[in-house]
């Protein structure tokens, strides 16, 4: 087992990792930028080392300084958290060649699964369903050939820019005669936005749910899943609420998703924590979209339901130990839900709301978990992600979990900065969300500019 861990991250996830290390009797070093100097969570570490100026590019993304900090502190492993360098295969490689273990998967599996095209190919080989689609379209194809391709995929479909991503460069096509004009426009837009005319076709999944599977692998080749999370409540492709079990999917879909995720991870020789993401359509058909080769923001949801400490599991796996659980040992109980607390003003276009937190009061009670680094007197910086904490509840069933979350959302105080709490208060009263019948477009359809939710 390691002796000393370096935490290469900040805020709530840094604190989460520091706590786990402390419980395991591991010494800790935490890096920080000038902006985070003096933050109280740094006191949890045995030692803290400044690695640069405020901007992430000058600090939390400086691989060499982080590894140098591990060297001067004699740390034997680095935990990258999420974001920053967590999915940077070059960084993982540099750590290991500097004789500092990287707490995460191998650089090779990170590269393989991090490349969407390669991941899709691997998925198809493992008989994991992927979204029907083409590769980059040959510009020489004539209209008939294009319509043939489109009909094989099925309408509605999307024309997507090869160089696009995160929702940009996409057009919906609902019938064959819309195809040619859509392709023309899409190519023009792609050229202008990305300097790349490449486009491809992909089936458009209407009203999808986003369901992902948490997996855990060891360096001996063992892989298990910790069941799924539903992360459908999103705004512009950013998750706001996550829960388990996923409402409105049947047992067969659930089993298919989980088994597919394990097959894919095994094929990629994946170890450590990871997540396999799927879209599920209205008929319960699921399609692999991508994998996240890191521990995720929403990992506490799975921890509450399964009783597995995912951060500690990452540490023991990285130290070379085999998985402590067989698949049959994973028996989730009850329902867990998480709200991501962001320092943003939902009544003002989600404008970031940085500044001094004069008053912070965490809710408490049975089945309530708060993961945050904030406190009375903490100053939220405008330099970093607006996620300032997570509110998680775990109850015997979803109805009780919703009641508990409603109560916690009234009890929690973060002031005077603006947060997304008022939005969550509305969502947890909305009939569609409470019924478990939303899709990824729900919020974008129901939110008014002033931050109010319209009912169905």
């Amino acid at each position: 087992m390691f002796r000393r861990i370096l935490v290469a991250n900040r805020g709530e996830i840094a604190l989460r990792i520091l706590r786990a290390c402390r419980e395991m009797g591991l010494e800790t070093v935490c890096v920080f930028s000038e902006e985070d100097r003096g933050s109280r969570y740094l006191d949890y570490a045995d030692r803290a080392i400044c690695i640069g100026a405020a901007s992430p590019a000058e600090s939390y993304l400086k691989s060499d300084r982080i590894i140098a900090a591990a060297e001067v502190a004699n740390a034997d492993a680095i935990h990258p958290g999420y974001g920053f360098l967590a999915e940077n295969a070059d960084f993982a490689e540099k750590c290991r060649s500097s004789k500092v273990e990287f707490i995460g998967p191998s650089a090779d599996s990170m590269r393989l699964l991090g490349d969407k095209a390669q991941a899709r190919t691997l998925a198809r080989r493992c008989k994991v369903p992927t979204i029907p689609g083409t590769d980059r379209l040959d510009e020489e194809l004539d209209e008939k050939e294009l319509v043939d391709l489109a009909e094989k995929i099925g309408f509605p479909l999307m024309v997507k820019a090869s160089a696009g991503g995160g929702g940009r460069g996409m057009r919906i096509v609902r019938s064959p005669d819309e195809l040619a004009p859509a392709l023309r426009m899409a190519r023009q837009e792609a050229e202008a936005a990305f300097k790349d005319r490449g486009v491809y076709l992909e089936k458009y999944i209407e009203h999808p749910r986003h369901v992902e599977v948490q997996i855990l692998g060891d360096q001996q080749g063992g892989v298990i899943h910790l069941h799924e999370r539903d992360c459908t409540l999103q705004r512009r492709y950013q998750k706001l609420i996550e829960e388990t079990p996923a409402p409105s999917i049947d047992a067969r879909t659930r089993e298919g998703l989980c088994k597919s995720a394990v097959r894919l991870a095994k094929a990629a020789k994946y170890f450590s924590a990871g997540t396999v993401e799927f879209l599920v359509d209205e008929r319960g058909r699921y399609y692999f979209i991508e994998t996240n080769t890191r521990v995720q923001v929403e990992h506490p949801v799975t921890e509450m339901a399964t009783g597995v400490d995912i951060i500690k599991a990452q540490l023991t796996i990285a130290a070379g130990q085999p998985l402590a659980y067989h698949q049959r040992d994973i028996r989730p109980r009850g329902a867990a839900m998480e709200c991501r607390l962001n320092a943003e003003d939902p009544s003002n276009g989600f404008r970031p709301s940085a500044g001094l937190i004069e008053r912070f009061e965490a809710p408490g009670g049975f089945g309530v978990r708060v993961e945050t680094h904030i406190h009375d007197g903490y100053r939220v910086s405008p330099r970093y992600d607006s996620l300032i904490g997570k509110l998680i509840v775990h109850q015997p069933d979803r109805t009780e979990a919703i009641r508990c979350m409603r109560r916690c959302l009234r009890e929690i105080v973060i002031s005077p900065i603006k947060t997304t709490i008022p939005l969550f208060q509305q969502i947890f009263e909305h009939e569609a969300f409470v019924a478990g019948k939303i899709d990824t477009g729900f919020l974008d359809r129901h939110m008014k500019d002033n931050g109010e939710l319209t009912s169905d």
Binding site: R3, R4, R22, E27, T28, E34, E35, D36, R37, G38, S39, R40, D43, Y44, A45, D46, R47, I49, C50, I51, G52, A53, A54, S55, E58, S59, D64, R65, I66, I67, A68, A69, E71, V72, A73, N74, S98, L356, E358, H375, D376, G377, Y378, R379, S381, P382, R383
Partner: protein
């Protein structure tokens, strides 16, 4: 340990472990001022410190220091001295090699291009330049001391 120039070793035999750390004989111990590594700092007391005690005072968003890769150099202290700060994380060396004399001493004159020390990281030795004109008033860190980004290395009396 002295023979092999080791500053820290760790020996493990089954469930028993010994950690040995050597202090440099002629300077403050390498870990001076930092909490002892083998005794974790106790958890913060339940009484909260006064508001603002831990508030990270943000640097003004527009400081040039944020866009330039170098640490802030030339920030004057109360005595009118300029501090030379480390632009990187690593180990400080006052001489080009163990047998040579130090790059500078108290009283040495420096200009912008004078190499004043080496900071080593990941087996790469980086020469650090003064970037200020004046004379060395104080050497703040010790040879072979581990240093962090922004740490004060030298205090210089500026010539202008």
């Amino acid at each position: 340990m002295t023979e092999n120039d080791l500053s820290e070793i760790s020996l493990r035999d089954g469930s028993e472990e010994i950690n040995l750390k050597r202090c440099s004989s002629n300077a403050t111990p390498a870990m001076a001022g930092l909490p002892s590594i083998t005794h974790p700092v106790p958890l913060p007391a339940t009484a909260l410190p006064p508001v603002g005690a831990h508030a990270a005072e943000p640097a003004p968003a527009e400081t040039e220091a944020d866009s330039a890769p170098d640490a802030q150099t030339g920030v004057t202290t109360d005595e009118g001295l300029a501090a030379i700060r480390s632009p990187m994380v690593g180990t400080f060396y006052s001489s080009p090699n163990p047998d040579a004399p130090p790059f500078v001493q108290v009283g040495s004159t420096v200009d912008a291009d004078t190499v004043i020390c080496i900071v080593e990281a990941m087996k790469v030795f980086n020469e650090i330049k003064a970037e200020v004109c004046g004379s060395i008033e104080r050497i703040v860190v010790a040879d072979q001391e581990p240093i962090e980004y922004g740490q004060e290395l030298f205090l210089v009396r500026p010539s202008s």
